[in-house]
């Protein structure tokens, strides 16, 4: 689910970017904020960081000793993406293995659908193996699949989420 969130952040402006004109300062803060926001990629609580939408407020700047940089506490609104257990989503298949398939959904690259969680589908080997059920419904590369999230895991080192999904439920499976 995409979320609109408001969050506080501390932006540090190096002394040499400080300008007597107020307008330039605001621009410097926005640029700095957007850079840092993009670098951060994701957090465990808020999910993936997509975009900064509005800068809500800029607090009083505080000069840091030794360096002369100025730290501004700011509050801004942005868009994030987070998956919830029990949520139903649609994703795109990008890799098929004997034991299951990998899907992408939004910014999340590692979504695994195990063959155990799609019991009516079986693996059909071949140059490009696919999964198929008795009604000839196919799970092939680039096919859109509707699934339910059964678990997510935050990977601190990669700053990424992994998710396990399932097709056990009504109205789940490949979407034509």
């Amino acid at each position: 689910m995409f979320l609109k969130v408001q969050m506080p952040w501390n932006v540090i402006i190096p002394a040499d970017s400080l300008d007597a004109k107020g307008l330039m300062l605001k621009k410097a803060i926005v640029i700095r904020l957007m850079d840092e926001f993009a670098c951060k990629k994701a957090t465990k609580d808020l999910g993936y960081f997509m975009a900064v939408t509005t800068l809500e407020s800029i607090g009083e700047g505080r000069v840091r000793q030794n360096t002369g940089d100025v730290l501004f506490p700011v509050v801004f609104s942005g868009i994030t993406f987070k998956m919830y257990r029990g949520e139903i989503l649609q994703g795109v298949v990008h890799k098929i293995l004997k034991h299951g398939v990998f899907l992408r959904c939004g910014p999340v690259q590692n979504i695994y659908l195990s063959h155990i969680k799609m019991p009516d589908y079986h693996y059909v080997p071949g140059e490009n193996g696919i999964f198929m059920n008795d009604k000839h419904s196919k799970i092939d590369k680039d096919v859109i699949v509707r699934f339910i999230v059964i678990g997510t895991k935050w990977m601190e080192a990669e700053r990424e989420f992994q998710a396990l999904v399932s097709l056990e439920g009504d109205y789940l499976g490949p979407v034509s």
């Binding site: 689910m1 995409f2 979320l3 609109k4 969130v5 993009a38 990629k41 994701a42 993936y48 960081f49 997509m50 975009a51 939408t53 868009i79 993406f81 987070k82 919830y84 257990r85 029990g86 949520e87 139903i88 989503l89 649609q90 795109v92 992408r104 959904c105 939004g106 910014p107 690259q109 509707r146 339910i148 999230v149 439920g169 009504d170 109205y171």
Partner: protein, 138 residues
């Protein structure tokens, strides 16, 4: 929320802070990100170089998975769904997946049928009809 163990979107258990946070439908995110991208385009020749991977992947995704493209239609979808006393999260799941039948809608958002809520099948049917009308006239 007491522990992560209890999270279950099907029962609308997604944590206090997220229940209150505003959820966005794919089509709304597409409008916002496309607007952002256009702004970047005006500032540089190679805007794709300026954006993060998360931004790029998400833009591709929401473009492919938006049921409504026209900004007016997007606004109407939220307006119509808002009349049905849905939680933000439920509203967006319905707007994203566009179920065609009452049965499908309940399968996608089981929490709309939980006890104490005023959604009978007729109300859900009306809501789905309203949604399909927007799609037809888009």
């Amino acid at each position: 929320m007491s522990g992560e163990e209890e999270e279950n979107a099907a029962e609308l258990k997604i944590g206090e802070e997220f229940l209150k946070a505003k959820c966005l439908m794919n089509c709304e995110v597409a409008l916002i990100l496309e607007h952002k991208y256009e702004q970047l385009q005006q500032m540089s020749d190679d805007p794709m170089n300026q954006v993060s991977q998360v931004f790029e992947k998400s833009l591709q995704y929401v473009k492919r998975f938006s049921r409504y493209k026209n900004p007016d239609a997007v606004r109407q979808v939220r307006e119509i769904l808002s009349r049905y006393q849905l939680a933000e999260f439920e509203l967006c799941v319905l707007g994203n997946l566009c179920p065609e039948t009452v049965e499908e809608a309940i399968a996608m958002v089981p929490s709309i049928k939980t006890k104490g809520r005023a959604h009978d099948d007729d109300a859900i049917e009306r809501m789905l009809n309203d949604l399909s009308l927007i799609k037809k006239f888009e």
